[in-house]
């Protein structure tokens, strides 16, 4: 949502995604620190529903879970892959969970 001054705070990649999905950023309520709009917020808005006040972290975890599912599917297809994809996805998950800005991590710790 826009701040008192009418500004919306969201990273450039998220702003572009909003345009791509036809989402009006000023109507999206941000779940990041201080209300920063995240990729997940925009995707949620695109799917219709106003997003609940979830943390960006939950978001990342959701994405990671999706990734992991994808990976498992892919693994089913490519059984002979050298590096077990499940393992890869799990590592991804670990990393993505922590790929949150310092202020987000602080929120999570509080």
């Amino acid at each position: 949502a826009p701040s008192s001054s009418g500004r919306t705070f969201a990273p450039p990649s998220v702003r572009r995604l909003a345009r791509e999905l036809g989402v009006d950023l000023s109507t999206v309520s941000g779940s990041g620190p201080s209300g920063r709009v995240t990729e997940g917020d925009v995707r949620q808005a695109a799917e219709g529903g106003e997003r609940e006040d979830e943390s960006e972290l939950t978001d990342a975890v959701e994405r990671v879970e999706e990734d992991a599912e994808d990976a498992v599917e892919r693994m089913d297809e490519e059984v002979e892959a050298e590096v077990p994809l499940g393992e890869q996805a799990a590592e991804h998950a670990e990393r993505e969970k922590t790929l949150a800005a310092p202020a987000t991590r602080k929120l999570a710790a509080d």
């Binding site: 701040s3 001054s5 450039p12 572009r16 202020a103």
Partner: protein, 475 residues
């Protein structure tokens, strides 16, 4: 290509190959758009040929000599001579390298380059007069067009640039000898950048400015640092003085006359005069009417958030479009319009355009000042870090200036920053990213910054705004 009555066709015609136009052309070609780039002079435009690049080359070279010459305190004893002709030759080499690089990049990306002067011959048609004798002309039919014809120095009455002792920035950057003395008309950023290096080369510089300070638009405490350093270098400032005219003096020099608000005249002797009072968009030679285009009151082409003018399929970017006249703003707009032309969901949605002034020390800013933040309805939290408290700045014996960060007091979002001091132009990059990302004070404060660097000052300014700076007092 077909000549004669039948026109050449192109999906996208880009007029002007400055940092706006050539970037637009390359990006469009990358996206598969059949693109023609038309340039009447050298590729690279003002910026590469007579602007950003040559000025920064001379500034750097001068600084290398000047710093060594003034480093006794550090145990460096240097006897420095400047060979301006050689410096300008070197600078020309740098320019050549970059402009030929632009040509290679255009070709490698499949941009069709046409050399010549373009003007509109209809809503979908340009006529291009080729340079050189007997080169003739051609007509180019386009589906979409980007106007990127840039700007030229404003000439003021009484100071014609084709008079020998009166110089515009292009002529100044090509001087082969340091003038004994110079009157600089205009204390904007171009005037200040070039005054500073001429003073360092031993020229006796006097700046006359109509306003009551240098660098309009910058905050007082930022300007003060630069003005003070310039004064130490021997630059004299006269404010509230409008330049009226000049005449030759007995000693092969000139006398410049100025007038203050009350109509009182003053005179200034010098070898030459350098006029730097701003730049105007180049649109008058484009036959805009034919395309249905009309400049606004500022002489620019109004555009919407995609860069499109009021005529469908015609875009304007860079110095001919509204906004700050800066190369990186032109390039960004070039990228956006190229993507729009290619059908991508692009838009001019950046939060802020950073700007740098390459004076001594440098100034760099991005986003909002404290006052602007208040106007926009924020209750700003402001943090400051003086370079005099920076270990890195002390090790370079250059520790004037500061980093200031302006954030929203409620949310902590970074809204803007002002830096005056060493490497300001590079340090602003982190804050530009912060503004775009919606980073908070805490994000910057919590990010480890390498020691010893000037960039630690950015972290300290954020900590200061949060009330827990380590290397300054929190008050």
């Amino acid at each position: 290509m077909v000549v004669g009555d039948v026109a050449t066709g192109t999906e996208l015609a880009v007029v002007g190959a400055g940092p706006g136009g050539y970037v637009a052309a390359i990006r469009a070609a990358q996206l598969g758009v059949d693109t023609t780039l038309i340039e009447k002079d050298e590729l690279g435009g003002t910026c590469l040929n007579v602007g950003c690049i040559p000025s920064k080359a001379l500034i750097h070279a001068t600084n290398v000599g000047y710093e060594a010459d003034t480093a006794e305190e550090m145990g460096i004893h240097a006897d420095v001579k400047v060979d301006m002709e050689q410096m300008v030759d070197w600078k020309d080499g740098v320019v050549d390298q970059l402009t030929s690089g632009v040509e290679k990049l255009c070709k490698a990306n499949g941009v069709n380059i046409v050399h010549g002067r373009a003007e509109f011959a209809g809503e979908n048609r340009l006529r291009v007069a080729h340079g050189g004798e007997g080169q003739g002309s051609e007509t180019i039919e386009f589906e979409q067009c980007v106007v990127a014809t840039g700007s030229r120095p404003i000439e003021i009455p009484g100071f014609a640039y084709d008079d020998d002792p009166v110089l515009d920035s292009t002529q100044l950057l090509a001087l082969e000898q340091v003038p004994r003395s110079l009157v600089v008309v205009g204390g904007g950023y171009i005037g200040m950048e070039l005054s500073t290096i001429l003073a360092k080369m031993g020229c006796d510089v006097t700046v006359v400015e109509m306003m009551d300070d240098i660098l309009p638009g910058y905050e007082e405490d930022v300007k003060r640092v630069v003005r003070k350093r310039a004064e130490e270098l021997g630059v004299d400032f006269y404010f509230g003085q409008a330049a009226k005219g000049w005449e030759r003096a007995d000693d092969a020099g000139i006398v410049v006359t100025t007038e203050n608000e009350d109509g009182e005249e003053s005179t200034f002797d010098a070898e030459k005069a350098f006029v730097a009072v701003g730049r105007q968009p180049v649109l008058d030679t484009l036959n805009l009417d034919a395309a249905g285009l009309e400049p606004n009151e500022q002489g620019r082409l109004e555009t919407d958030h995609t860069g499109e003018t009021n005529v469908d399929g015609i875009f304007a970017i860079g110095d001919v479009a509204p906004g700050p006249q800066l190369a990186h703003k032109a390039s960004k707009e070039g990228q956006v319009v190229a993507e729009v032309v290619a059908g991508e969901p692009a838009a001019m949605d950046y939060q802020a355009v950073p700007a740098a002034v390459f004076t001594d020390p440098e100034i760099a800013t991005v986003g909002l000042t404290q006052a602007e933040a208040e106007e926009e309805g924020f209750t700003p939290a402001v943090g400051k870090f003086p370079f005099s408290a920076s270990g890195r700045a002390l090790t370079t014996n250059d520790h004037e200036g500061f980093v200031r960060i302006v954030a929203d007091g409620d949310s902590g979002f970074i809204l803007g920053a002002q830096i005056v001091g060493p490497e300001a132009s590079e340090l602003i990059a982190e804050l530009g990213l912060a503004v775009e990302m919606g980073a908070t004070l805490e994000d910057i404060a919590a990010t480890i910054h390498t020691h010893p660097t000037l960039s630690e000052g950015v972290m300290e300014a954020a900590e200061h705004a949060l009330g827990h700076a380590i290397h300054t007092l929190n008050r």
